[in-house]
Every structure is written in C-alpha cells, then in structure tokens.
C-alpha cells in the first residue's frame, strides 16, 4: 500500500525509495557481488543518498509556507491522540460515555500513568482508515464528546490527578443533531468549567487546533504545540470562501492560511502557546516513537513544574493567563483616531 504523500514530500519520498532499494541490494548476496564486481560500494552509496535526502528534507522543511503547515497538521500519516497515549503512557484504561445518552468516539479519554504518575489523558481522535475515520467522525466532536470530556476532567480533579489534553480536530460537529444537543452550550460550558478544575492541566496541540472544537478541551495551565501543528479561529478554506479579500474562493486557502497566522510559531509569538515541541526532521509521522518521546518529556516536565504550585495560585494563574489574552489598546478620548497600523498607512504620517 502506498503511503499518502504531500506534494512537497515527493522529492524526499523518491530518495527514500532509492535508499530502500539500495538497502535491499546490500542485503542480497547476488546483487551485492554484482555491485562489488562493478566496484560500487553500496554502503557508501547509501550514506551518500541519505545525506542528500536529509539535505533536501532540511531545505523543504526550512521553507514551509503556512499552508504547508496546515497540510502537515492534517497529514494522514500523522500520529493521533491514541498513538501518543500508547507511546507515552502505561496502563491506559479508556473510560466511555457522557452518562446522558451517548459515547462519542471523536473524543477519547481515560486514566493512565506518565512516568509512574496517574494522569487523565483526553483528546480528539481521528481515524486512520476510511472506516475508522467515519467512526471517529474525522475527529469532529459532538456535544456528547465534550460532555464526556468534562465528566472525565471533573473525575480527575476530584481524585487530584492532573489532566493532559491532546488537541487534534478540524472543528466541532455542526450538523442538525449537534445543534439539537447544544454543541454551542457544550463547548462554552466546558471552557468555563475548566477554570474551576483544581488540578494542573497541560494542553498539547498535536495536529489541528480547530477553533471552538479545539478550545472545548484546551483551557490549560500550559499549552504545548507540536512543531507542525496549527491553531486557528477558522479553517483557512472557510476564511477564503467568506472574504472578498480572497475573492471568496476556497482555492485561495493558502492566502488565508498566511493571513490567519495559524502556525505553532505564531501561537508562541502571541503568548498563546508556551512552548513548541520539535518534531523529527520531516514531521512526527517520519518517526512517531521519537516524536512521542519528545512530547512525553515536554508534558512530564510541565507537570512536574505545576505539581508544586498551590491550587489557589494555579487557578488564579489560569484565570490571569486567559484574562490577559488579546491585542487592543486603550485610547484617551482626545486622541481618538482610527488605529491603523504603520504598514497599512498610505501616504506620509502627519
């Protein structure tokens, strides 16, 4: 089966294929002898191609556009929440159900151990193959998913177990049934109640941080973003489709992606993310175990730091963290002029 590839991964994949072929030759006595006969050193040839591959990879990944980041965040081979939980944690016991009427497979959660400490791990869950994707509703949570998540978070808080959430959703479900079951209220209530949880919360954005659907489980004391994850108020396609600036054309999603400043690097710059976890060269899916190890260490380090914070201080800091987010200015009445930033001013300043 061919692995799905992004366009800019193709030159890398070609070299990967070449390396694999060379390795197969090296393992094949006959071919090996033939190569020796031709004075070809397969080992050094492999090293040479690997170097070239890594160089290409470095170049490609040094020049990712915001749209490329969106593609990386949505990469079909990217590790998902359960991949990380299984790699980072032990003794995961998945807990199900909202105790109201449903169990939403688009959000998973349960108790497990990280470095010997019990945590509550919760995250959006996408599916790998078509069947599982549909089962998981592409990671778009329904109201019952948010309610299950809140139930589990409150359970964890009662038993004083810290909470780790994994964010990876295109958006919350928005169909008729979601509306009937109060998707807006479910998200809003989660966000509000997360400010009351008396345990540390670490949020890890591992893929798509899709607007309210992400935020519904993403209020935390620390927000970690994977290098190739994104966090956005609106999918760039929808943004492009709405705004005349992008010709109301979904095809111009890449322009919208650039305008929205939705990359992990921007979130860090805006002080909405606290740190970025580097991914293996080429992205987490090229080496999921290594990616998980680095993320796991980052989460553990944050949890360790938060463990010593007294609960009232923790809750107060959480409040202040979100209370202070925003970019605005306070203007004296007399100075009231339209606040146009310098690079949008036409003509000389007065």
């Amino acid at each position: 089966m061919l692995k799905p590839l992004l366009d800019f991964e193709k030159p890398i994949a070609e070299l990967d294929t070449l390396i694999e072929e060379l390795k197969r030759s090296a393992a094949n006595d006959e071919r090996r002898k033939a190569a020796e006969h031709d004075n070809v050193d397969i080992e050094s040839e492999i090293s040479r191609v690997e170097e070239r591959r890594d160089k290409v990879m470095r170049e490609v990944f040094a020049n990712l556009t915001p749209w490329n980041r969106v593609q990386m965040a949505r990469h079909p081979m990217r590790p998902y929440t359960l991949d990380y939980i299984n790699a980072i944690c032990t003794n995961f016991v998945e807990l199900h159900g909202d105790r109201i009427g449903a169990d939403d497979p688009a959000i998973v959660g349960g108790f497990c151990q990280l470095n010997g400490q019990t945590i509550m791990a919760i995250g959006h869950q996408k599916g790998r193959d078509l069947k599982e994707r549909q089962h998981r509703n592409f990671g778009s949570a329904r109201p019952s998913g948010f309610r299950k998540a809140l139930r589990l978070m409150q359970l964890a808080a009662r038993f004083r177990k810290p909470i780790v959430t994994f964010i990876d959703t295109p958006a919350a479900e928005a169909n008729l049934m979601a509306e009937e079951e109060g998707i807006s209220r479910a998200i809003a209530y989660n966000i509000q109640q997360m400010f009351h949880l008396e345990v540390p919360i670490v949020v890890a954005v591992i893929g798509e941080g899709g607007s309210g659907g992400a935020l519904g489980i993403a209020v935390g004391d620390r927000v970690i973003m994977m290098e190739h994850s994104i966090y956005s108020v609106i999918p760039p396609e929808s943004c492009a489709a709405i705004l005349s600036e992008f010709g109301r054309d979904r095809g111009r999603a890449s322009d919208a992606a650039a305008a929205l400043k939705l990359t992990a690097q921007h979130a860090l710059q805006f002080h909405i993310a606290d740190s970025i976890v580097s991914e293996p060269l080429g992205g987490a899916h090229r080496d999921p175990i290594a990616a998980a190890r680095v993320l796991g260490n980052a989460i553990a380090a944050e949890l360790k730091e938060l463990a010593s914070v007294p609960t009232p201080v923790l809750l107060d800091a959480r409040y202040k963290r979100y209370r202070s987010i925003g970019s605005w200015e306070e203007i004296e009445r007399e100075a009231l002029i339209v606040p146009v930033p310098a690079d949008h001013v036409e003509g000389p300043m007065p």
Binding site: E179, A188, Q193, L243
Partner: protein, 289 residues
C-alpha cells in the same frame, strides 16, 4: 487610507446614543411578511412589525434605551479599542468604516445602569459593527464588565446580537476571547453574581459557543437566528432536511437551551422581575432612578 473622521457622534438618544438604525425614508417593508408600513409606526411599536410581530434588530444604544431607566446609563470601557494584531488584509479599513458608520468604538457597548430601580452592569452588541463580532476589544470590554459586576456584586445583563461570532481578522486572538470571556464568567459563577443573557438576532458561532450560552438565565427574543454553524454549512454536511425553524429562538427553546422566549414588549419587565428575585438577601432595596 487614513481615516480622519472622529467616530463618536453627538449623543442624541436618552442614554447618549446615536440614533442610526431607523430605516431610511418614510416607508419600511417587513423582511418577514413583506408588509409595507409607515416607518414611524414600526418605530413607535418598539421596532416590531405590527402585522407579523417580526422583531427588527436594534442598535446597541437603542437596546439600552429600551431597557434601562431613563438617564441611568453610564458608559464604561468605551475606550478599549481594536487594533490589527495580525496585519490582516482589509481589517483596518473595515474597522474604520464600522466606526464611522455606526458611531460606536467597537461592537459592544457596556455600562452601569438601573433597570426599574435596580443596579446592574449591562452590555449590548451592535450587529452593524462588523456583524457584532468578538475581537480582542470586545473580549476585554466584556471581561471588565464582568469584573465590575463581581466587584459591585450586581447582576450582569447582556444582550447578544453578535452574529459574526469570533472576529477572524484577529485570528487566534479572537478565538481566545471565547476562553477569556468564559474565564470572566467562571469568576462570576464562583462569586455567585447573576448573569442574565438575552439572545437577540443574530447570535452565532464563537459567541454562542462561549458567553452567550453561559447565562444563569437565558432569555431570547422571538424569531432570532441563534446557532453554531451557518445554515449553509449545516445543510451541506448533513444532506438532510432541516426543520423550518432551525437555529431560531424557538428551536433553541425546544432543545432546552433557552429559559423563556420573551416578546420585546415584556422584556424590560421580565428583566426587572428577575433582578428583584435574584437580589441578595438584605440588599433588595430599589435605588430611585
């Protein structure tokens, strides 16, 4: 482009509002029943169609005028202004246009006021200001209003009409206003200070999925558009027939999201009764207007 205009117009309404939303001209055609009315008749009828009861949208100051005791409104947070943190194409121009056309400094107006003699913090959004959308300035204004409510221990009464949801021109900052306003409401919840929401046409997306859904008591005007995702999105994704009243006040009431649908004519008295009922023991003294 550099806007030269000052964006606050001379106050003319009872509470210092600029009357801007009166339909232009002598006649007005009802968007629901298509009846042609004298504009004056609609105006006299609290902006409700005299034939089909359609509730026209109100501007922020019109809303406040209809709700609070005459002369009691004291504006707050009005100097918290939006900036363009992302350098988003077209945003500064849109902002300038909204400011000069509405006479407002951003999409929500906040203040302290009396309703039937009872103190409260009040806030009203204006759909004509970028669809009433929530950017950083709106978030900051609302949280300040909530904090004032907590400080004074007086209820916070909020009118929505934030059809635009989060203001995407501010990217992640605007998304985070959902968390910011909800943080403020978590604080109100802990302080046990009442928060009453009145959902008005239209209230969608990031606003409905944050502070608009979190009222201790949630009222709605009849026939308002209230929902999560745009109707088109819903239609597309579902391939199923939507109920006729999808995403209306009535739909949300049926789904248990709204305490009462209140006719505009009853709104002030319902709010007054609620403020009376929710007054703290021993503090239930009316302030004379």
């Amino acid at each position: 482009m550099r806007a030269k205009s000052r964006w606050f117009t001379k106050p003319s309404g009872r509470n210092g509002s600029a009357v801007t939303n009166m339909p232009e001209g002598l006649w007005v055609k009802c968007p629901r029943c298509a009846e042609i009315h004298f504009a004056k008749d609609i105006e006299r009828n609290l902006r409700i169609c005299t034939k089909c009861d359609y509730h026209y949208r109100l501007h922020a100051y019109e809303r406040i005028d209809l709700t609070v005791d005459e002369g009691s409104f004291v504006k707050i947070n009005d100097d918290v202004m939006s900036v363009d943190p992302l350098g988003f194409p077209g945003y500064p121009e849109k902002l300038a246009r909204a400011i000069s056309s509405t006479g407002l400094t951003d999409a929500v107006v906040c203040g302290e006021a009396l309703i039937d003699g009872r103190r409260c913090v009040i806030s009203a959004a204006d759909f004509d200001f970028l669809g009433g959308s929530m950017g950083s300035a709106v978030g900051e204004r609302l949280v300040r209003a909530m904090e004032l409510s907590v400080e004074l221990r007086i209820p916070f009464v909020l009118f929505t009409a934030n059809g635009g949801g989060a203001r995407m021109f501010e990217g992640l900052y605007s998304l985070m206003q959902m968390a910011k306003t909800s943080a403020g409401l978590a604080k109100m919840e802990r302080a046990a200070v009442p928060y009453i929401v009145v959902l008005t046409d239209p209230t969608m997306a990031g606003v409905y999925a944050s502070y608009a859904s979190l009222g201790d008591i949630i009222l709605a005007e009849p026939g308002a558009l209230i929902g999560f995702a745009g109707r088109r999105v819903g239609n597309q994704d579902m391939g199923m027939k939507l109920p006729d009243d999808f995403q209306s006040s009535e739909f949300q009431f049926r789904c248990g999201m709204v305490d009462q649908i209140v006719h505009r004519r009853e709104l002030r008295s319902t709010l007054a009764t609620l403020l009376m009922l929710l007054a703290e023991e021993g503090s239930d003294v009316k302030t004379s207007a």
